[in-house]
Symmetry: none
Amino acid sequence: QRILDAAFKKFAQEGFAKTSVSSVAKKAGISKGLIYHYFESKEAILAAIFDQLVDVGDEILHLPDYFTPAGKMRQILESTFEFIKEQTGTGRLTIGLALQPEATHSLKSKIEQVNKNQMALYVKIFEELGYDDPQLEAYRLGALLDGILLAYATMGDEYPLEEMKSKIMEEYVPA
Amino acid sequence: QRILDAAFKKFAQEGFAKTSVSSVAKKAGISKGLIYHYFESKEAILAAIFDQLVDVGDEILHLPDYFTPAGKMRQILESTFEFIKEQTGTGRLTIGLALQPEATHSLKSKIEQVNKNQMALYVKIFEELGYDDPQLEAYRLGALLDGILLAYATMGDEYPLEEMKSKIMEEYVPA
Amino acid sequence: QRILDAAFKKFAQEGFAKTSVSSVAKKAGISKGLIYHYFESKEAILAAIFDQLVDVGDEILHLPDYFTPAGKMRQILESTFEFIKEQTGTGRLTIGLALQPEATHSLKSKIEQVNKNQMALYVKIFEELGYDDPQLEAYRLGALLDGILLAYATMGDEYPLEEMKSKIMEEYVPA
Amino acid sequence: QRILDAAFKKFAQEGFAKTSVSSVAKKAGISKGLIYHYFESKEAILAAIFDQLVDVGDEILHLPDYFTPAGKMRQILESTFEFIKEQTGTGRLTIGLALQPEATHSLKSKIEQVNKNQMALYVKIFEELGYDDPQLEAYRLGALLDGILLAYATMGDEYPLEEMKSKIMEEYVPA
DNA sequence: AATGAATGAGTCTTCATTCAT
DNA sequence: CATGAATGAAGACTCATTCAT
């Protein structure tokens, strides 16, 4: 819906707490009341946005079986870096909410779910690649990518995203 | 002041936006009015908190000159992991604020300043250690540590912080 | 109509002010819009409900001419107590609205009308029964019955309705 | 407080649901915010009003021990009729709330408490006066008085309150 | 230095009502 | 007849900030 798009932009731009329902309505070009016709509450909008994000996340993680382990890894890194670059707002919003204890439990659990899936996939690939401690290796990769996302979200184009991508790719998927 | 301590706890616990000045006053055991005697505004409290944090950060980064490059690296990692573990609230608060565009410009610039200092130090050490691209290497380490901080702040004790520390130490400061 | 039934139940259960038109629509199994096809406004629904109640009231008060005065009195008391018992919701709603000055003038006048009719009938019967001051006696009986209605509406089955009925019957229609 | 007075007048005049907090504030000559400085919520104001009313009720029911039973009865009737006449708003408000299921449980229980006390006193006096079934007699008197209160609250000065008083007095406390 | 009464703008939310279809 | 999307005017409540004392 237009509501979700508008709300997402606003939330990503100004943060959930600071964004008023009225401003979302204005941005969506509709009346405040109508928002409550479609969503129970401000939180519900956020939840709906997240449901969409979860789907996007799943897509990124979904890889054809015929890929080689190295191919999967390359694909994941490609997708993730693209996500970091294109969906800065999404990343910012997600991290911001993950950090705020105010977030509803249901939201937290959704975030955790996405995270779990991600980790599970990483672990599996590292296993296939024969790493010693796939679990720990997965955490390491996760931290690295999150850290890059965070830095890019904060600094914007000042950040040498491409160089970092090359470096990471080389490290995990040597040519 | 007691105000700063109370405010920091509250902000870290519930987020800046969700924390009311009254609740800070109550936690500090003083009256609302008194807070405005010492601070211009709610934002000013936050700024003061950050000034303290900057000092803490500088301390972590300040290393005696007689340390070998490797020693410096070890020291930095030790301090950072200790910070991650002990000051989860600080980390959460900082990242949360860094991500929220609502933050005043002055706040942002302080955060950036700390970051710059950190990066500069990393770069210098990597130079001393003879890395190929110290700049990029610094970004990589920064991302890694930030990612770990983020994960630990989100997951808490479920996160294998010690194992990660060992892994990272080994990587950067081989025994 | 189904609308009136649904609305009546809702109004009686939750009060007029607290009942939303949507909830009436849902209870009636139709759409909100349709209600406005049949009724001008929420108030109009209430008015229509009252029109029905007035009819019920008139029925209670309508007595065959061949009844003796004492027979009429017995009949009235019987009917009234049955009404009190069976139509608690109606009683509650009516009194509640009679007390709220918010009620439209038209509503008030309807309530008053029913009251007047009732009083007139009481007066007539007391006259026929040869009471000294039929007017005052009618007010007394009215008060008594209203008081019982009120108490029963408030307390429910804790109230000794049957005993009260016996007592009042004995008083006004000695065996 | 001025708030309670203003709120009471408003609630009695327009009903609890229809009275806005702002209008109470305006009537009290203060700002909306200040009301929330003194009361948790709109309901809390109502509760406070009721606490005062309970006190008034207790006063009416408190009778010196040296009164004869007949004297007590006379005194009660006198007080009650005075209350009916002077405190019409109170009566209206109380009954209105007793009938509205929306009222909080705490409120309901307060009303019931007052009622219980009243009934207990009536029963005791009827016992002392040697009535056959004091319990039922108490319910009867209660109904009568409530009915009169209700009628007077609805009709106002059209109602022959004085005549009713004489009649009831004569009935229960013959000269 | 210290209090807390006071303000008013702003927030989320509800709801009677209208209207295009 | 019938729907339900759409509106806008409230309403309860919060909170940063000010100010008299």
